[in-house]
């Protein structure tokens, strides 16, 4: 069956360090993958999109990689700040137009 797994429910890191979040999937052939940020009591906010034929995308302090062989995406936040504390969701989208979200990883950046 299709499955999306995001690494451990919670990730705690020190300010200034790089946070790395993982998104693994099985039995999908995604056309593209997105990462969203969700703060408590708010709707998800789009961060980055990466297509199946792209290896890496960057946006300011954010970087996402996509390895269709390993069936994995990595999401990096460099020089992390307490304001980066939130839940991060990955979402897979197929060519058929279906989108599926993972359960998210809650990141806490400590000053």
């Amino acid at each position: 069956s299709q499955k999306i797994e995001q690494n451990s429910e919670a990730l705690n890191i020190q300010e200034g360090k790089t946070a790395t979040l993982t998104c693994n999937y099985t039995n999908y052939s995604p056309a593209y993958l997105q990462w969203y940020r969700q703060d408590p009591g708010r709707g998800p906010v789009f961060l980055l999109l990466i297509r199946e034929n792209e290896k890496e995308k960057r946006k300011e302090r954010l970087k996402v990689t996509f390895d269709t062989t390993l069936k994995q995406s990595l999401f990096h936040i460099t020089a992390s700040q307490p304001a980066d504390s939130a839940t991060y969701l990955c979402a897979l989208h197929t060519n058929a137009g279906k989108s599926t979200f993972g359960d998210g990883t809650t990141l806490t950046v400590k000053p």
Partner: protein, 114 residues
């Protein structure tokens, strides 16, 4: 540009009662989604509209949930009768790029069923 509007933000009902949620997507966005997000989980797609037509409602519990988007703009999601397990946040999202592109989410409607 105004974002996706949802109401009400919070609703508390007793089981077996009915409830309706409203969503107004970003102007011009043809595709509208309703997601259910249970605490600690990611959003789960309930239904997807393209204009006023249903694209995907395979995960909508049709015995109790219904949704419509009559004029291809705003949409209503109804639950009747509600069960305890329907307690969740109901998120509406829209996109103007068909199936490719970022989803713009509203703030959600939090439902508590007692």
């Amino acid at each position: 540009e105004a974002g996706v509007a949802q109401s009400p933000r919070y609703k508390i009902i007793e089981k077996r009662q009915s409830v309706a949620f409203w969503c107004n997507p970003i102007s011009g966005h043809a595709t509208l989604y309703w997601y259910q997000q249970i605490l600690g989980q990611g959003p789960k797609l309930l239904i997807q509209f393209q204009n006023n037509g249903v694209v995907d409602d395979s995960q909508l519990p049709k015995d109790r949930f219904s949704a419509e988007r009559l004029k291809g703009v705003d949409s209503t999601l109804k639950i009747q009768p509600a069960k305890l397990e329907d307690s969740a946040v109901y998120l509406c999202a829209s996109t103007g790029q068909g199936w490719v592109g970022e989803l713009f989410f509203g703030e959600g409607s939090r439902l508590t069923v007692l």
